[in-house]
Symmetry: C2
Subunit: 199 residues, 2 copies
């Protein structure tokens, strides 16, 4: 429909997650009429991300060096290790400023439908890290969905023999949410995990 190179760009943009054909068309025409310098900045950002970003050899988080900023930071607590699925989960937890330990990024969750079993995740690397004697608590912070729960259950079984304190993030009502709109599973978990109020 469009001149070849415009259609090529629409097709490539349409491959990105969450971008349908209409959005791809809109973005392509935006870029067509954008300043050449703006498009060049996007091109540079894309090339740099593939050239410069690697994954931390210790935790699997994104890094610009062999170690990510968190693993390289000597002020972080070396006794607590938080296990997450993806690098973006590290960022989400860092934003809370609740956790001062280090991370381990699995690179996904167990999902037999997608062909992802324990061997496709960085679980062997996790077990090797726990071999040392520094880590005393492992906090499993996988997503609260079927795959994340399955991964947490699998990890808990693997970690039990090591005699560590293994915890899981609490499930319950989201803060600022409305009780009547909570789904029954979440509400059930909130009951299950109810806590004494200090009077």
């Amino acid at each position: 429909m469009y001149e070849g190179v415009v259609q090529d760009l629409i097709d490539e943009l349409g491959q990105l997650p969450g971008i349908g054909p209409k959005s791809a068309q809109r973005i392509a025409f935006h870029l067509l009429s954008a300043e050449a310098a703006d498009v060049q900045r996007l091109i540079t950002a894309l090339s740099e991300v593939k050239d410069k970003v690697t994954f931390c050899s210790t935790c699997g988080n994104v890094a610009q060096d062999t170690q990510c900023r968190i693993c390289a930071d000597p002020r972080r607590d070396t006794h607590a290790l938080c296990v997450v699925e993806e690098p973006k989960d590290v960022v989400a937890i860092e934003r809370t400023r609740e956790f001062k330990g280090r991370y381990h990024v699995l690179g996904g969750a167990i999902s037999p439908i997608d062909g992802i079993g324990p061997d496709q995740l960085r679980i062997a690397e996790l077990m090797r890290r726990l071999g040392g004697d520094e880590i005393t608590e492992v906090i499993i912070a996988t997503d609260p969905n079927i795959e994340g729960e399955a991964t947490a259950a699998y990890l808990a079984r693997q970690l039990r023999p090591l005699g560590l304190r293994v915890t899981r993030l609490a499930s319950g009502l989201p803060v600022g949410g409305d009780l009547e709109y909570a789904d029954e599973v979440t509400l059930g978990r909130a009951f299950e995990g109810r806590r004494l109020i200090d009077a």
Copy 2:
């Protein structure tokens, strides 16, 4: 929050229309774990679009040459000219296969709030094209919104002295739509433009 180059990419993606911070993050992490060849294809498509795409010197549509494919096509009817706001409108009309004439792309619509008046649009170029004697009908196909209607009214005034047949696309109920969900302006237009049924 993220390693520098990842954050740069998220920032650049977030500048694109319709992409918020969450989508930008999702796309950036998708690209991080994508094949280098896929990212390279996107980079190539972006550079080519700025290097190779120009605008047709006749109609203002996107082109890879001095003339776009439609203006260069000798089979198109030279008597009818369809005036649209953007190149994507050309594609939308071409998809209907209803129109065999040529186009004129204004490059937008009159919008005083955005500082766009008649001089910022390709209206002088349109008047020059109409100077020849080939074109006998001008179909104004600007968007059916405030800016598009204002542009259509302005163009109709400019074109009246030339003695051409000037038409506007019909407004009315969208096909496949539901009468009760039509807004009152559209429904009013549908009444205004009602047509005799051939019995």
